[in-house]
């Protein structure tokens, strides 16, 4: 792999006034043209990582470790101004909550125009045509009407597609998509994923794709990182991890997927127990209280990351290379 676009090394993040870190010792890399899927339970720190990748954490947050974009440390060497420029030009996100990411009192068309900053010196008609084309690509009906509307006049899925269009118009080197298709129906989702796959090839950038939907990971991602309670528990290629999960959490998570259950049931499988509270983390393995395969050692000692091959690892005592 050539130099990674994004490289995280031992990143820990603590929010101001939070009792403990929301993300702990996470390391991974995303190369040019690669798409990394991040999955994990709700509250495991996925959006926190996404915010950190944009240099957008609340004031007073504490970040340790290094987070490099094209070799430059986002938290060490860059000024606020550099970061703002980076966010405007090289890194774009599709936020988990599209409504709060858009300006509620600005028409959609104008907001989209701001995103295509590369083209700001082109004539207005050309910029407008580009926006219209992009809105058609994300399969919005009446793109010209949509441009005149305000965010609250759009449905959840339409908003989500507007934010996808915005991110694609920005032509970023790094695209961070936080659950971009949760509000889309199956057919629209399939189409949008197709568009994103195409965009990936033309943009040559790297993509980080946060999702809960394993079928989306399968369709779009090359690699996958599984988070649990703020820790990276398993990583590898999509085929390796989904086909042959090594960490007990990954296994349990996949078993919960209703899409993998043949017969309709009223009682869906879950992972028993709850995620430990931030300030009440077990001393040993973080998954130990809920782990079906836990052994005595797990309670006493936190497992290290075991390498299982090139860029493939899992953090569990039972995993042996």
């Amino acid at each position: 792999m050539s130099a990674p676009v994004l490289a995280l090394d031992n990143v820990s993040i603590r929010y101001p006034s939070a009792p403990a870190a929301a993300v702990r010792n996470v390391s991974f890399e995303v190369g040019t043209g690669e798409t990394l899927g991040i999955v994990g339970e709700s509250g495991s720190g996925k959006s926190t990582l996404a915010a950190a990748m944009m240099g957008l954490l609340p004031r007073g947050s504490c970040v340790t470790g290094s987070l490099r974009f094209e070799g430059r440390d986002l938290f060490g060497q860059m000024t606020e101004r550099d970061l703002r420029q980076l966010r405007g030009r090289d890194i774009a996100t599709i936020a988990q909550d599209p409504f709060t990411a858009l300006n509620p009192v600005m028409k959609i068309g104008r907001q989209l125009d701001i995103f295509q900053h590369w083209y700001h010196d082109r004539p207005r008609a050309e910029r407008k045509a580009r926006i219209l084309e992009m809105l058609e690509q994300v399969r919005l009906s009446d793109p010209d009407v949509r441009m005149q509307q305000y965010p609250h006049q759009l449905s959840g899925g339409i908003l989500q597609r507007v934010s996808i269009a915005a991110a694609l118009l920005a032509e970023p080197k790094l695209l961070i998509a936080d659950e971009p298709t949760t509000a889309l129906d199956a057919t629209t989702e399939a189409q949008i994923l197709g568009i994103m796959a195409e965009a990936k090839e033309t943009l040559r950038g790297a993509t980080v794709f946060i999702t809960h939907d394993m079928s989306v990971v399968e369709r779009l991602c090359d690699r996958i990182a599984v988070l649990y309670a703020g820790e990276l528990v398993e990583t590898g290629t999509v085929a390796e991890v989904l086909g042959n999960p090594q960490h007990p959490y990954t296994k349990a998570l996949l078993e919960c997927d209703p899409a993998r259950i043949e017969e309709p049931t009223s009682e869906l499988p879950t992972i028993g127990g709850t995620v430990p509270a931030l300030d009440d983390r077990p001393a040993g393995c973080i998954f130990e209280p809920r782990c079906p395969s836990a052994v005595a050692r797990c309670r006493a000692e936190a497992p290290l990351r075991h390498d299982l091959g090139p860029r493939r690892s899992a953090a569990c005592h039972l995993v042996t290379p």
Partner: protein, 293 residues
Amino acid sequence: MTDQTAAAPRAVKAERHATLRRLLGTPTGAVASLVVAAFVIAALAAPLVAPYDPNAIDPINRMQGPSAAHWLGTDQLGRDLLSRIVFGTRTALYIALTGTGAALGVGMAMGMIAGLGGKILDSALVLLNDSIKSLPLVLFALALVTIYGASVPALIVIIAISMAPGYFRVVRNQVLVLNNADFIVAAQSMGASRLRLAATHMLPNLIGPILVLIAMDIPAVIGIESGLSFLGQGIQPPQSSWGNMLSEGYTYVRQAPHIAIAAGLPIVLSTIAFTFLGETLRDALDPRRAVRT
């Protein structure tokens, strides 16, 4: 690696007091709050704080430099400068508060009408406010003063007219946003009354940006008052006002430069203090404000 959390308390609790804590937690915020508090106390308790009667003329001690008896010295009529500043604070804050208060009232009313009323009304009000904003403020103020004469009410009217568009914009945008916000609809879906919607959901979300604007506007108002008074078109002597004092000090700047300096001091200090207060308040009130660590 950056770590600024050393002082951060453990639990997420007490977020209620977090605004205050965030405000006083930064050095600039704490100092600005202190200075502003000092001005307010000086204004409220002027007769108690001021060592002398601000208008007591003392022909023997004219244009004296700072001394133990007169900390900041005396002016061309022998009046104690410190006392005049203290009473000038009263004038300045009175005008600032009534002026911004009136601007807030007018701007808020227009903003509510624009936000809740129909589209035509909205467009008309936006146009009106944009036109006011584009008027050259000082010329406008001088014109009004020449027509109606210099007086405190005239000053307040000038300030209210020139500041109202700012409040109008903030309130209108906020109302437009809130009107369609999901959490407002959610409260409606639970059967919340109009009163409850306004009091528990709308107002708390409106108040933050308004407070910030007020803090930011006060120095501007003080500037207007001082400026007009300096030009002889504001507060009329002998009432103490920072602008008057500056203007008098300017006349004698060669013989007694301390008069001008003493008069300029509170203007500069209050402007800086209120501006910083506004800025820290903005950060403190919006805990979401995303800033790198």
